[in-house]
Symmetry: C2
Subunit: 101 residues, 2 copies
């Protein structure tokens, strides 16, 4: 499995509606078959300094992730939502095996 | 479930051995019963600007995560490993349900 983790700080002045539109659009990307698993959520607010939002995505491998990135649905998500609400993002990508231990 | 995602940049000058000691110590935290699931890995190096390492941890709830943080094994991990190799870290914590969709 190839995992991509994206931590996000919202851009300044983003409305609650725009954030919800982003979350809904992200959830809609589950239609893309290469995206095998997706979890995401807003930071729970327990600690100062945390980022605002995180998404964890799993693909079969890096090539599958590249197909997902090029998919028109993903491109539309970037242009219509992600590019408008994300102020800062931190990405890590790594291979892993689902059967840990 | 309560998820904690920690993205890391290594501190400057950290040796490969110190990084491996950190990874091994992190894996050892699976002994702590409140840590229900742990995946981690080094960034695959496909893109400039990515952070170096990420860990995804799941607990039953926030209170369970607090028990884990206070566990002497976690405290030793922080003092002997994490505090020595982590230069920068980004954290997001959120509730989620394992049954997505």
């Amino acid at each position: 499995m190839f995992r991509q983790v994206i931590s996000v700080r919202w851009a300044e002045g983003v409305s609650p509606d725009a954030k919800q539109g982003y979350r809904d659009a992200l959830a809609g990307l589950r239609e893309i078959p290469q995206l095998l698993a997706l979890t995401f959520g807003d930071d729970a607010g327990h600690f100062e300094g945390n980022f605002d939002f995180v998404a964890v995505m799993d693909f079969a491998d890096f090539d599958s992730a590249r197909v997902y990135v090029a998919d028109p649905r993903h491109q539309a998500y970037i242009q219509e939502h992600a590019s408008k609400v994300i102020g800062e993002r931190v990405v890590v990508q790594h291979d892993w095996t689902a059967a840990v231990d």
